[in-house]
Symmetry: C2
């Protein structure tokens, strides 16, 4: 029987990786369909918004990476213990993605002059600000992002941090011992560790 889950994404970590990490955590067998750059133009128009990642679940189609992660987080009981804790998880996930987007503004900037000017703001202001705030939150929660225990926010963080490091051309966690702890705590889960050890590390 074909697996119930099919993830379509490019052959990189990017926005697909948090979904792969969640599916691996839950030992949910999935087809890891990696679209090549050559095949993408022919597939694009068949995707709901012409974008990837797209997750098929028993024939039903979902898109939007963080919406998919939230859904999987619920299925895997990695959500909050009440509505307020769910709000805290959603908030930190949106904050991580704001940070990712600000780093992406640098990485994807094609105008060299604008890129160089923005690099200074990114390195001197944006990165220290976000890393300090997020590290303080991880400290407060004992090496997790919310509620002092593993939630899908931690898995999203693990799934995005390599992509963010790659785009920022730096190790964002070098001065963030508590965020390193978050990463370690997620990697203590054998299913996740096994997946990470054998995954393709393409950026």
């Amino acid at each position: 029987m074909a697996p119930a889950y099919k993830l379509s994404y490019f052959d990189i970590m990017g926005l697909g990786e948090p979904i792969r990490v969640l599916l691996s955590y839950g030992a949910l067998e999935f087809e890891d369909f990696r679209v090549t750059r050559e095949n993408w133009p022919g597939l694009k128009s068949s995707m709901p918004m012409g974008q990837l990642p797209v997750l098929e679940v028993n024939g039903k189609t979902a898109h939007q990476s963080m919406a998919i992660c939230r859904y999987l987080g619920k299925q895997l009981k990695l959500n909050g213990k009440d509505d307020w804790e769910d709000l805290e998880i959603d908030t930190i996930v949106d904050t991580i993605n704001d940070f990712r987007a600000k780093i992406g503004q640098y990485h994807y900037q094609s105008n060299e002059q604008i890129k160089n000017e923005y690099q200074k703001t990114l390195v001197d202001e944006i990165i220290p600000f976000y890393v300090e705030k997020l590290d303080a939150i991880a400290k407060e929660n004992g090496g997790y992002l919310v509620g002092g225990r593993l939630t899908w926010a931690d898995l999203v963080f693990l799934g995005l941090v390599d992509y963010m490091n790659f785009m920022a051309k730096t190790d964002l966690l070098s001065k963030a011992p508590n965020l390193q702890k978050v990463k370690e705590n997620v990697l203590k889960v054998p299913n996740v560790k096994n997946y990470v050890d054998k995954r393709p590390n393409n950026h």
Copy 2:
């Protein structure tokens, strides 16, 4: 007794408006604290991520506008009937916000040359693409965005569309009869209609 809810945001619709619409829908009394440009520098560092909107709920502080809307949507029973429908709501909300961000890239661009070049892409490609996709979804759901009935996604849409029209310098719904229907359906709720009729329409 002070209201249980205090919303801090600038004296514009922007990202605060969907929250105001949701609070109004539920007749949840709230302090609509509008921060002036003059007072903002003194307040900024006291906000969780140096950003607005921020919602206080019985003394607890929340930020990230869409996370707050999702929380209020649950409290007001405007969420999905199951996890999959919640995923559909989250997906359309993220898609609306992707569209908003792409319009914002135009509005907030300070380099005139880049702005003019991007305007063409926005008007010829991005706006028609998103409007057509969203209008088709609204048609399929009978004048709602998800599940053929009112959800918090419809309220978020109503809350953001004026801001998006303002930034895009056009009426995005002029060729979208089904999205107009979504707006009308939300405005059929007397609490929402009353709020919208008397709100400040600042951009």
